[in-house]
C-alpha cells in the first residue's frame, strides 16, 4: 500500500540553516495494516505524512502510495487516499452536513449518493444532531469527529490520520477511536497515523514505527518493541532501618538470580533489575527472599512502555518532550540515566 525508498525532505529555513526533516526513509506498509508513527515533536512524522499525501514534494527518494508515485502522479494518489490533517478540515463558516456532502461530490460521488453517504457517516460518528450546525459552533471533539468523517466520505482504502486525538479529553479520544476502529473493520482500511501519545500507539496500533531526527529507529509491534528493547523489570524494597543497606545488597543477590536478570541496581533500600518476566519474577523473588529469611517491604513487577523503548533507543524520554514547559521540575528527569521504567507503571 505504501512503499518509500530513501525518502528525504530538507527545508531551507534560512540561507545558513537547513533542516533535515526526513532522511532516507524506507518504509513498507501492507494493505490492511494499522501503523502508528511515533516520535517526539519535530521528528519528521508530519513531514512524512505530508509527502505521502502529496502536500509537499520530497527533496529526494521515492514514495508509492496506493500504487501511484507521489511525485509523478499526485492526482491519482489523492483519489485513492483519505487524509485527516492536524487541523480542522471543515470550513468554519460552513455547516456540518454541507461539508460532508461537498466532500463526497469532490470525490466524484453523484449528489444523491454523496448525500446518503453524508447522513450515514454523520450517523455513525454521532453528528446527526449537529448536521445543520455551523462548524465554528462545534466543540473540539465534535470537530475532530467531523474531520474523520470528511476523511472517510469516499471510503478510501488508505486513511492517513495526523495526530487524530491531540487536544481531546480522554473520553472523546476513546470515543473517536471506537469509531475509527469500527469503520476500519467495516471498510478494511489501511490506517497510518502519527501520534505523540504513547498509550495511543501502544493500544491502537498493530505496528509501531518509531522515528527520531527524521529517521526510523525502530519498527515492530508494540509488544515486540517493549520486549526486545525495554523488557520487564522488578522493583523491590527492604524495610528502612539500620539493616537496610546490608539487606538491600543481600536482596540484590537474590534479584540477580532471577531468570534473565541484568542491570541490577541498588539505591538506598530499593533494588531494581531487568528480568525476562516481571510478574513471574516477583513470585520467584518473594519465595527466594522468604526462604533466605530476608524481610521485604514492597515488591513490584513493572512492565515496559513505549517510552522505555524510546528511552532505550535514544537516551531521551518521549514523555519529557511532550511537556511543553521546559522548566518542568519532574524529579525523574533530574535522575539522569537512572532507569525510569516505574514511572509509567504506577
Amino acid at each position: 500500500m505504501i512503499r518509500t525508498r530513501q525518502l528525504t525532505k530538507t527545508f531551507e529555513v534560512s540561507r545558513t540553516e537547513t533542516v533535515h526533516a526526513v532522511r532516507d526513509l524506507d518504509l513498507d506498509i501492507a494493505p490492511g495494516e494499522l501503523v502508528a508513527v511515533l516520535g517526539p515533536n519535530g521528528a519528521g512524522k508530519t513531514t512524512t505524512l505530508r509527502m505521502l499525501t502529496t502536500l509537499i514534494r520530497p527533496t529526494a527518494g521515492s514514495a508509492t502510495v496506493a500504487g501511484h508515485d507521489v511525485t509523478t502522479h499526485p492526482a491519482q494518489v489523492r483519489r485513492s487516499i483519505g487524509y485527516v490533517g492536524q487541523g480542522n478540515g471543515a470550513g468554519h463558516t460552513q455547516r456540518v452536513l454541507d461539508e460532508l456532502v461537498t466532500q463526497g461530490v469532490v470525490y466524484g460521488l453523484p449528489r444523491r449518493t454523496a448525500r446518503d453517504r453524508a447522513h450515514e457517516l454523520a450517523d455513525s460518528l454521532h453528528l446527526t444532531d449537529l448536521a445543520r450546525r455551523k462548524v465554528s459552533d462545534l466543540s473540539g471533539g465534535q470537530r475532530r469527529r467531523l474531520d474523520v468523517a470528511l476523511g472517510l466520505v469516499h471510503a478510501p482504502r488508505l486513511l492517513f490520520l495526523d495526530e487524530p486525538s491531540t487536544g481531546l479529553d480522554p473520553h472523546s479520544r476513546a470515543n473517536l477511536w471506537e469509531h475509527i476502529l469500527r469503520l476500519r473493520r467495516e471498510h478494511g482500511m489501511t490506517l497510518v497515523l502519527t501520534t505523540h501519545y504513547l498509550d495511543e500507539a501502544d493500544q491502537m496500533a498493530e505496528r509501531v514505527v518509531v522515528v527520531d531526527h527524521g529517521r526510523i529507529i525502530a519498527d515492530d509491534t508494540a509488544d515486540a518493541l517493549k520486549r526486545d528493547l525495554a523488557g520487564d523489570r522488578v522493583h523491590a524494597e527492604v524495610p528502612p532501618g539500620p539493616q537496610a543497606a546490608a539487606d538491600a545488597s543481600r536482596l540484590a543477590e537474590v534479584v540477580g538470580r532471577l531468570p534473565g536478570a541484568r542491570e541490577v541496581q541498588v539505591e538506598g533500600h530499593t533494588v531494581q533489575a531487568r528480568v525476562t518476566d516481571g510478574p513471574a519474577g516477583v513470585v520467584e523473588l518473594v519465595r527466594a527472599a522468604t526462604a533466605g529469611g530476608l524481610d521485604l517491604a514492597r515488591v513490584q513487577a513493572v512492565q515496559p512502555t513505549l517510552d522505555d523503548v524510546f528511552l532505550e533507543l535514544t537516551g531521551r524520554s518521549l514523555r519529557e518532550q511532550a511537556v511543553t514547559d521546559p522548566l518542568t521540575t519532574d524529579p525523574l528527569t533530574t535522575q539522569g540515566d537512572a532507569p525510569v521504567a516505574g514511572k509509567d507503571a504506577a
Partner: protein, 280 residues
C-alpha cells in the same frame, strides 16, 4: 503538479480509466470549479446579514460624502449634470474594491484551521479551487450593487437598462480579478495575518484615490493623472459612469472592459500559480 493546473483536456486524456476501484469517474474541471464556487457561496446565502454589513460603508459614503460633493463641486460642472450619476457608479466600484480585496482573509482562515489543506489533498485540481473561489466574488458584488442602485432610484438616480446590466457584469469581472489577487496575497504571505492586511491596506487606498472615485482627478496635479493611467480601477470607474449613463459602447467602456478582464486574467494566473505552490 504541472498536470493538474492545466485544465480539462489533459485531465481526461492523461488519466485513463483508473485501475483501482477507489477512483470514481471524476467530473470535468468546470464541474469542480462549480463545486468550489457553490461551497463558497453557501455561507453567503446562509448568512446574508454579512452582505448587508458590507453595504454600510458604501451607503455611508453616499449619505455623508455625496451631499458634500454636491455642495462643493456640484455647480462647477466637473461632475457632469447630475452628481448621483457621477457618484453612484463610482460607489459601486468602491464596493467591489473593498469587498473583493478582503476576500483573501476567508482563505487565510481556512489555511489556519486546516480546511485549505484538506481540500488540497482531495482530487479537486488546485486551479479550480482558486478559480471557483474567485468567481464566487461576482455574486455578492452584483447583489450588493443591485441593492445600492435600487436604494438610489428614489433620489433621482436614472437607470438605463442595458448599460446598468453591463455595468453590473463589469463590476463582477473586476471583482473576480481583485478577489483572485486577494487570494494570491493570502497564499503568498501564508498565515501571517498582519502581513495580509498591511499589504491590502497599503494598496487599497492609493487604488481608490487614484481612480477618481471620490473626487475628480481632472483638478489634481499632473503626476496624479499619470499615476491613475496605470490604475485599472480608474478605467473601470470611468466605464461604469459611461455605462450607467446609458453609453453601452464607447472607447471609455471598452477600456473599462480591457482593464477589468486584464485584472481578472493576471489575478487568476497569479492565483493559480500561488495555490499550486501553497504547501511547498
Amino acid at each position: 503538479m504541472t498536470a493538474e493546473t492545466t485544465p480539462v483536456a489533459t485531465r481526461r486524456g492523461v488519466m485513463p480509466e483508473p485501475t483501482t476501484p477507489d477512483a470514481p469517474d471524476r467530473r470535468s474541471w468546470f464541474a469542480d470549479t462549480w463545486t468550489v464556487m457553490v461551497r463558497e457561496l453557501r455561507p453567503v446565502a446562509r448568512e446574508p446579514f454579512n452582505l448587508v454589513f458590507g453595504l454600510v460603508q458604501p451607503l455611508v459614503f453616499l449619505g455623508l460624502f455625496g451631499p458634500l460633493l454636491a455642495g462643493s463641486l456640484g455647480d462647477t460642472g466637473v461632475l457632469g449634470p447630475d452628481v448621483w450619476q457621477w457618484f453612484v457608479p463610482a460607489i459601486l466600484v468602491m464596493l467591489t474594491l473593498f469587498g473583493s480585496s478582503t476576500t483573501g482573509a476567508n482563505l487565510q482562515l481556512e489555511m489556519q484551521t486546516g480546511a485549505h489543506e484538506r481540500l488540497l489533498v482531495t482530487p479537486l485540481p488546485r486551479s479550480s479551487q482558486l478559480v471557483g473561489r474567485s468567481l464566487k466574488e461576482m455574486v455578492p458584488i452584483v447583489a450588493q450593487a443591485v441593492v445600492i442602485v435600487l436604494v438610489m432610484l428614489p433620489f433621482g438616480f436614472a437607470l438605463h437598462g442595458t448599460g446598468a446590466v453591463l455595468g453590473l457584469l463589469l463590476l463582477g469581472v473586476l471583482g473576480v480579478g481583485l478577489g483572485s489577487l486577494s487570494y494570491t496575497l493570502a497564499l503568498a504571505v501564508r498565515s501571517q495575518e498582519w502581513m495580509f492586511w498591511a499589504v491590502q491596506q497599503t494598496v487599497l487606498f492609493p487604488a481608490m484615490i487614484l481612480s477618481g472615485m471620490l473626487l475628480p482627478l481632472e483638478n489634481g496635479p499632473g503626476w496624479m493623472q499619470v499615476a491613475a493611467r496605470a490604475n485599472p480601477v480608474a478605467y473601470v470607474v470611468d466605464a461604469e459612469r459611461a455605462l450607467f449613463a446609458g453609453e453601452v459602447w464607447s472607447s471609455t467602456v471598452a477600456w473599462g472592459w480591457v482593464a477589468a478582464l486584464l485584472t481578472a486574467a493576471v489575478g487568476l494566473a497569479a492565483g493559480v500559480r500561488a495555490i499550486s505552490r501553497s504547501t511547498d
